[in-house]
């Protein structure tokens, strides 16, 4: 039996029937990581001994009892590192658990392993990690996407059963697409961000990476809900997210946004998405054309709002209370300036500067104020579309995984990789990426992601629609071969 290849649901069955123990699971997973992660570099660190201690007393009757889950290195787990893939937090140890970690533990899960990422979640390729890039398990000359590229790659390479990541402009869905797995961005306010190192507070959301839609539902069951420690989390009821899985799609209406089928989209991606639409029709769903007229402005709005918020959030990294401090500075001001110069990488510096500029006196109304108003128009586009359809269907990314180094020095080109994902964050709705085919590029098979977007707090419906496609296709069963596989 190939243990690490199991889904969470299948793993649970084996744990509950006592066919295997949680400690054995961790040993098998650790062996897998040792065998393949030198090529992938999806993990920054892991503590097998600490995880095995938890596994020894795991209650497998709990919803995620005894299941190890990998965590993006931006979410605090008490006693573990939380570097955000930045030199400025090298050596930092979390003094507390994030709420999602507390909830995972309450559900019996075992946080195991810290996943690589773009520094402070800023990037679309995981090349911005201060500790070296993660590579795509389907082709190690290519990027896994980002910013949660480590979380996506370790699930795709069977180095994790599931992982948590964070999505500010597509950082869960885009790497899930490029790595051929499932990635769910819940509605803004659905999952507490307490203990998530903040990038852009009006956009950030935590969500799962999994091998199946059912697994994503199981993880969302565990982490969703109001948290008094995050006042943006909403007191909406938490349904059982597996409730509608398996129901048919008769009467379900899916909207195809005409602005998302544009020039510049990879023809193989375009063909796969259109084939997925036909498949949905064969399942009983109706495809309806909808319009999201402000789509072309989403990237511009995002890079003003996200950088503005990051420039404020990252002001806390000043070398006083935690993290790196520059040595030999003559005074406090010099300590700040040099600590941040030495501690941050180029993309983080660019975004702090851009965000500071768009908020600065004389410019904030022209840039930040204007972006917030266009954001309203983008939200209204979705509200209007969801009056006609249950979900929107479109590509997750305009292309498949690109070569490492291809655009790491061209920020604007890199930003455009997020063109189909960022509107969901601006509008606060939920979205998922699921595998829907492969492109053939220079003889290599590269996964394509299908994105579904739904109304705020309508994850039950979103997951039902995603599951119906997944279970009637075989794309999610494909796994990239690693070395000795």
């Amino acid at each position: 039996m190939d243990l690490p290849a199991l889904s969470v649901a299948d793993l649970q069955q084996k744990l509950r029937s006592r066919e295997i123990s949680s400690v054995e699971v961790l040993d098998a997973l650790d062996a897998r990581i040792t065998a393949v992660d030198s090529r992938i570099h999806g993990y920054l660190s892991r503590d097998l001994a600490a995880a095995k201690e938890l596994a020894a007393t795991a209650d497998v009757s709990l919803p995620l009892g005894g299941v190890p889950i990998a965590i993006k290195d931006v979410i605090n787990v008490k006693g573990e590192q939380c570097t955000c893939a930045s030199k400025i937090l090298q050596g930092y140890r979390s003094p507390y658990d994030a709420t999602v970690i507390r909830k995972l533990r309450a559900a019996g899960a075992i946080p195991f392993g810290r996943c690589n990422m773009d520094e402070f979640a800023m990037g679309s390729s995981t090349e911005n990690s201060a500790f070296g890039p993660t590579l795509n398990p389907w082709d190690t000359t290519r990027v896994p996407g980002g910013s949660s590229g480590g979380s996506a790659a370790v699930v795709a390479a069977d180095e994790a059963f599931a992982a948590l990541g964070s999505d500010t402009g597509g950082s869960i869905r885009q790497p899930a697409a490029l790595c051929g797995i499932v990635g769910l961005k819940p509605t803004y306010g659905r999952v507490s961000r307490f203990g998530l190192v903040a990038f852009a507070s009006s956009l950030d959301q935590i969500g799962p990476f999994t091998k199946t839609v059912r697994d994503a539902s199981l993880l969302l069951n565990a982490i969703a809900g109001r948290d008094p420690l995050d006042s943006t989390s909403l007191d909406e009821p938490v349904p059982d997210y597996t409730a509608l899985l398996g129901r048919d799609l008769k009467g379900v209406r899916l909207g195809m946004p005409r602005e998302y089928f544009i020039e510049g989209i990879d023809p193989q991606v375009d063909a796969a998405i259109r084939a997925a639409m036909r498949h949905y029709e064969s399942l009983g769903a109706e495809i309806v054309e909808v319009s999201l007229p402000h789509t072309e402005h989403a990237v511009g709005v995002y890079y003003i709002i996200a950088t503005a918020e990051c420039s404020a959030n990252l002001a806390r990294f000043d070398g006083v209370r935690y993290g790196h401090r520059a040595q030999g500075a003559a005074n406090l001001l010099e300590t700040y300036g040099r600590t941040r110069e030495e501690g941050f990488g180029p993309e983080v510096k660019r975004r702090i500067i851009l965000g500071t500029f768009v908020l600065s006196s004389g410019y904030s109304e022209a840039y930040y104020g204007c972006a917030q108003k266009v954001r309203t128009l983008i939200r209204r586009d979705f509200t209007a579309a969801f009056e006609k359809v249950d979900a929107i269907i479109c590509p997750t990314a305009p292309e498949v995984a690109f070569k490492t180094g291809d655009r790491s020095d061209d920020p604007l080109k890199m930003y455009l990789a997020d063109i189909f994902t960022i509107a969901a964050n601006l509008a606060g709705i939920c979205g998922i990426s699921i595998p829907c085919g492969f492109a053939s590029v220079d003889g290599t098979r590269l996964p394509i992601g299908l994105q579904l977007l739904a109304r705020p707090f309508d994850e039950v419906r979103l997951l039902q629609i995603a599951h119906a496609y997944e279970q009637s296709t075989a794309w999610h069963q494909a796994r990239p071969k690693q070395g000795n596989d």
Binding site: S202, S311, C370
Partner: protein
């Protein structure tokens, strides 16, 4: 508008020192990004309310009560320098 964008001055506002290479590179790259976002100004936003965040929640109150949290030792555990339960920083005032 972006002609007024000065990387060196903005970085100073952000308390971020830059090398000469970074100044030149970021000035060019971010000018390009600002040119890209200029097109937002063509959108008619008259009478449109700004969106600060996506949920319709404004003031969230809780009881003003103390609750257990970090011990001073835990709060200081990651500090580059500390003594007597205080963070130690270089001199602020001459």
């Amino acid at each position: 508008m972006s002609a007024a964008f000065d990387v060196r001055y903005t970085a100073q506002l952000a308390r971020l020192n830059l090398s000469e290479d970074e100044v030149a590179k970021f000035q060019a790259q971010l000018t390009q990004v600002l040119e890209y976002v200029e097109k937002l100004k063509r959108v008619d936003v008259s009478g449109v309310e700004p969106t600060a965040h996506a949920t319709e929640v404004f003031n969230v109150f809780r009881a003003d009560e103390t609750r257990p949290w970090f011990t001073p030792e835990e709060a200081l555990a990651n500090a580059p320098r500390h003594a007597n339960q205080l963070f130690i920083v270089p001199k602020v005032i001459e």
